[in-house]
Subunit: 282 residues, 2 copies
């Protein structure tokens, strides 16, 4: 037996096709959507991710501009660049790539991104609006979890979802999206005692900490649906999630793979948000 794989590749392809159609229509009337990515790191994984975003953007008809400020950029320099891009009429969407230089606070910096261009929901304003039910872009990773569950027909209303991880970019916004979908939501984290007691009581478990081996077979029961948001590099250049798939897979009902689960859906939704931001500007 084994868990149903909650694969995201097909779903991501479908979303990208829709985005490509949107972008083609926009290109005919006003011009190609344009995404700016601000980078201030020489981190290899970050560079790889930015290139993959750029390629994915090109494939759907989105221009992607990388603004590399260097790993020594000051907070002021980063804020200034984000404000300039927010004001630029030919830029429809702005992402601030992490990590940032020491001493630069990502939340404060993100306040310089115009919420109308904040396609990865990084500005606290976006998160606040999301929380109170006003229109806002959600962080793409958080939205990808809900979109993936929807695609596989896994209901959320009245279900108990345990989110492991309380980061401002995944765990906390995801909790808001799940509450908006009428799930009962528990947020666990590094200070949670008896994590397994919480996750074993859940209908759906979302692992979003960023630590390989976080969830093992002792954390789940037959019937659990598990979504793995983790992307942890391995020594041999591969990628593993937060879930120990070899022991969890045989127990649970469904499990999203890493790679090929939440990741491709996240990228597709980010591009969809760029298309929407460009559409709003028409």
């Amino acid at each position: 037996m084994g868990a149903e794989p909650l694969a995201g590749t097909e779903l991501a392809r479908t979303i990208r096709e829709e985005v490509a159609a949107t972008c083609a229509a926009l290109a005919e009337t006003g011009g190609r959507p344009r995404l700016a990515v601000v980078v201030a790191t020489d981190d290899d994984a970050s560079a790889w991710y930015v290139r993959s975003i750029s390629r994915a953007a090109a494939s759907v008809g989105i221009d992607c501009e990388i603004r590399d400020l260097g790993a020594a950029a000051s907070a002021d320099r980063i804020h200034e660049e984000l404000r300039a891009l927010s004001a630029a009429p030919d830029v429809h969407a702005v992402i601030l790539q992490t990590p940032l230089p020491d001493g630069v606070d990502v939340a404060r910096a993100s306040e310089a991104i115009d919420p109308a261009k904040d396609v990865d929901g990084a500005n606290p304003v976006s998160l606040g609006r999301l929380t109170v039910g006003l229109p806002a872009f959600a962080p793409a990773t958080a939205e990808a979890v809900v979109t993936l569950l929807d695609a596989f027909g896994i209901g959320l209303a009245g279900r108990h979802v345990v989110v492991v991880g309380r980061s401002p970019v995944v765990g906390r916004p995801l909790a808001q999206l799940l509450l908006a979908r009428d799930a009962t939501v528990t947020v666990c984290h590094s200070r949670t005692t008896e994590l397994a007691g919480h996750t074993r009581a859940a209908d759906v478990v979302v692992a979003a900490v960023g630590r390989a081996g976080l969830l093992t077979s002792e954390h789940v029961v037959p019937g659990t649906v598990v979504v793995d948001v983790g992307t942890n590099p391995t020594d041999d250049g591969g990628l593993v999630g937060d879930v120990e798939a070899s022991t969890v897979g045989p127990v649970v009902t469904a499990l999203s793979p890493v790679p090929g689960g939440v990741g491709p859906v996240t990228t597709a939704l980010l591009l969809r948000n760029v298309g929407r931001a460009a559409g709003e500007r028409e």
Copy 2:
């Protein structure tokens, strides 16, 4: 036997004394702190609450100005008033009283309150900043719950807190405050199935729905600490919480009374926030 009463009256008095000292110092250097309350309802309970805020403000040396726009005020009129008060140099703090006229969205209207004067944490910006750990005023009711628990030495780090109610003014911001204090947090609501299963598993239960009789003895076990945020008017002009105190009290370890629990602490914290907002403007 019976539960320890988590009374808020003494704590509120202590906070008000601190605020009075702050306001006296401010009055000597720059002038009395000034709070503006925007009202657009003829609801009796609301009028009673505004009068009580006004009296409490006066008692600590805060001037309170009521701007009654009438129960027929338009959204535009309310936004305009909030923007004007946000811009007024002699006003340090702004509250928008609810309920609002039909068709006026409280979250949208609250976006017109300058976050620096948003002493009841109503602007989604305040909530977003709170969520990502940036400085912001928290909604006073949510902060009162944490302050009350602190005052009675009830630890939160690593404890499991179940919040019943997901409103943008209490449940959701409270969940953020509790996560920031390292609690494991579950948010339950009207669509939660088997509410008692969740609340019986908690170390601390916070009832914040606004329905008398929401929690009864079947929802708690010996050892549970219960904070009652509800304020429901009774037919005889009294006030009861969301917790059926007569059946819950004999079972649990501690229970906050209504009235005299969270309520007075909320008012005191609101005034403290006015003092802080005025202090920041010096």
